[in-house]
């Protein structure tokens, strides 16, 4: 995971609540066994228009052209690293492919009033900063980025602030541990294994408790 601290970029406004993971990355792309290559399929159903009457179930772009009306396809938002949306972003399925697609498209941060729990966790594990701001603050940023696509936003993870050069300044909360991991690009498994002595001790007791083992029989 790449460490991240300060991010300054233009932002893509997506003013909708409840953007679900089926929209972020439709299921047909979940058939792939790789961990990369999802950026092209981010918001697939909104981003591409079909040239034929196909059902779009193949795990590729199919016979499509970019939908010129969709915000990601507007040249003025190219290269943007921040996405702004309304509340309950990332609801629905647990697919981490949603976080991969967002990341691999080039976004490093999402700003919204609230995020769904599993998406929140998946994003953290992929080095994506999620900034929870109030509805009003998000609304202000959505408007500024809509009116002026060149409008730049700065996210400072260390200071936990979101600012712009028009006087916008907001604070966001983040769990200190998650912040530490994002700032340092830390891998979770390694961190857990630092506690292996405790894990061994727990297991030597817990493994006797056959009533909570999946395939349970008492120790002979």
């Amino acid at each position: 995971m790449t460490p991240i601290n300060i991010l300054t970029s233009t932002a893509v406004p997506l003013p909708l609540p409840n953007i679900d993971t089926d929209q972020i990355i439709p299921k047909q792309f979940l058939k792939r066994i790789e961990r990369t290559g999802y950026g092209d399929f981010l918001f697939y159903d909104w981003r591409y228009n079909f040239l034929d009457n196909s059902t779009g179930s193949g795990a590729d772009k199919g016979n499509t052209i970019p939908n010129p009306d969709f915000v990601l396809n507007k040249p003025e938002y190219k290269g943007s690293e921040i996405l702004i949306a309304e509340r309950n972003f990332g609801c629905g399925s647990s697919r981490e492919h949603a976080a991969w697609a967002i990341n691999q498209y080039g976004f490093r941060a999402v700003i919204a009033p609230t995020f769904a729990d599993i998406f929140f966790s998946n994003a953290g594990k992929n080095g994506i900063i999620l900034c929870r701001l109030t509805e009003e603050e998000v609304e202000t940023l959505l408007q500024r980025s809509t009116i002026n696509p060149a409008h730049k936003i700065t996210i400072n993870l260390e200071a936990q602030t979101v600012t712009d050069d028009q006087g916008f300044s907001a604070h966001f909360d983040i769990d200190p541990f998650r912040k530490h991991c994002l700032l340092n690009g830390l891998d979770d498994i390694g961190l857990t294994l630092l506690h292996e002595d405790k894990l061994d001790a727990y297991e030597s007791r817990h493994n006797q408790e056959f009533w909570s083992a999946p395939k349970s029989q008492p120790a002979a």
């Binding site: 003013p15 609540p17 089926d22 509340r87 998946n122 008492p218």
Partner: protein, 474 residues
């Protein structure tokens, strides 16, 4: 810190029994008793283990099957899947399970089925356990009084390597459903009503405990339907206290304790229910006697109304954001505000999924279907959730009831619940579905989904439009 005498909730008991370590300033390291594995969210986790040179810490605490990708048309179509990418994904799981020592229930195994069906059927899902799976509907297993939740692929890998997960403690939310539900109201209607009430993010950050006389009166199948859709209310998990109904379901199942061990296990499980006087961060009480059959009209499970209601107008939207979503949903669903729900015609009916693909669901639907025929304008399919359900239904002759009424009778899998396999809606098609999500494109690009109970799905197949089950005369 609470001592042994402080009243505790079901959730707190299960949580405390699984705390491995509580490092200062970090999330709790929680022990995971069982991880369920399927083809879609696991390949990248196995790849991660290989790259890091890691093994599974406890392969015996894993169970795998195939469900999302597999065609449901015929046994032949499943053994070698025509879609090569899907086929490669299933093959990857076969190889990964063999390489890492995981018990795997392949397409034709008599225990194969949707991952959330087989855990309970095998008796692998038990009260008081912690259970995870790379799938959000893992909340289903909470029906047994387990703490069960969906995770992402990085977490799947984490559990494989360490049998633990770093977790911050969720808050608790008890929803009491008191009283007897009226005729025609099922577990599905109860959970749709809850989601409609609290919203799709109404329980974000919480574990819900469903309690009250209406919940206690439910079978395990009904309880699983309720817990299954906890995630549609944003909850981390849903739980129901184990009781005699739970124990009767588990008794004699393949992985359940036997003989004297059974009684010892029941004694442990009986101590799990929430103590009198235990407090929750939030509580809600619902009068079950006032409930009506529910159906979704829009593109989020929270866009729900009663079967005798109408598609809401913009005046019903509480916020500006809701107005925007309503407007978008009218267009996507091709519905006019104010339309009576019963006038909505359907082109397809899907009976199945981990929400309502159980034997009791098929029995209830078959009762409605018996002696009728599917409307000529409708294509209808029944997809049993597991091999076990399929076999049981065939033993009871339910397959014949469905087939002679014009339903397709399929092989078990996720099927049209998410359309990752060949079962999908065409653009513009409208479906009455017993599944759990009505998102745009969920059942196929441009497809329109109405979520409802198995009984009402069956009735819609016959009449060709959404139908109030309370008026049904068989």
């Amino acid at each position: 810190m609470s001592n042994a005498n402080t009243p505790r909730t079901l959730f707190e008991k299960v949580w405390q029994q699984h705390v491995v370590a509580e490092p200062a300033g970090e999330p709790t390291i929680l022990y995971i008793d069982l991880q369920l594995v399927h083809e879609v969210t696991s390949p990248q986790a196995f790849e991660g283990l290989r790259i890091a040179g890691r093994k599974l810490r406890h392969p015996e605490r894993h169970i795998a099957t195939v469900d999302h990708n597999v065609p449901t048309t015929s046994v032949q179509d499943r053994l070698v899947i025509a879609d090569q990418i899907a086929n490669a994904q299933v093959n990857a799981l076969r190889k990964n399970c063999a390489d890492f020592g995981i018990e795997f229930f392949d397409v034709q195994d008599s225990a194969q089925g949707i991952v959330h069906m087989i855990g309970p059927e095998l008796g692998a899902t038990k009260p008081g356990m912690t259970i995870v799976c790379g799938d959000s509907h893992t909340s289903t297993h909470g029906a047994f009084g387990a703490l069960a939740f969906g995770i992402g692929t990085s977490e799947v890998e984490h559990v494989m390597a360490t049998q633990t997960l770093p977790q911050s403690k969720p808050k608790t939310f008890r929803i009491n459903i008191e009283g007897d539900v009226p005729f025609g109201v099922t577990a599905k209607d109860i959970i749709l009503d809850i989601i409609g009430r609290i919203g799709t993010d109404g329980a974000t950050g919480y574990v819900i405990e469903y309690a009250g006389s209406a919940i206690r009166a439910l079978s395990m199948e009904g309880r699983m339907t309720i817990c299954n859709m906890s995630i549609e209310a944003g909850a981390r998990a849903g739980m129901i206290a184990p009781d005699e109904t739970t124990f009767a379901y588990l008794r004699n199942r393949r992985f359940a304790p036997k003989d004297a061990a059974w009684y010892e296990a029941v004694a442990h499980w009986s101590r799990l229910p929430t103590d009198p006087g235990a407090t929750f961060d939030r509580e809600l009480t619902i009068d079950a006697t006032k409930l009506a059959p529910s159906v979704t009209w829009g593109t989020s499970p929270g866009m729900v109304t009663t079967i005798d209601g109408t598609v809401p107008t913009l005046d019903n939207a509480a916020t500006e954001a809701d107005r925007k979503s309503f407007t978008r949903a009218y267009e996507y669903m091709d519905l006019k505000p104010g339309t009576p729900v019963e006038e909505i015609t359907v082109d397809a009916v899907f009976l199945g999924s981990c929400t309502n693909g159980r034997i009791e669901d098929l029995r209830a639907a078959a009762k409605i279907v018996k002696g009728h025929h599917v409307a000529t304008t409708v294509r209808a399919m029944v997809v049993p959730g597991s091999q076990h359900v399929k076999k049981q239904a065939e033993a009871e002759g339910l397959d014949l009831v469905f087939k002679s009424a014009g339903f397709e009778w399929r092989e078990p899998g996720c099927s049209m619940c998410l359309g990752m396999n060949p079962d999908i809606l065409s653009p513009g098609e409208r479906c009455a579905s017993t599944s759990n999500r009505n998102f745009e494109g969920r059942q196929g690009r441009g497809g329109r989904t109405h979520l409802l109970s198995p009984e009402m799905a069956a009735a819609a197949a016959i009449t060709g439009h959404l139908t109030d089950i309370r008026k049904w005369k068989s």
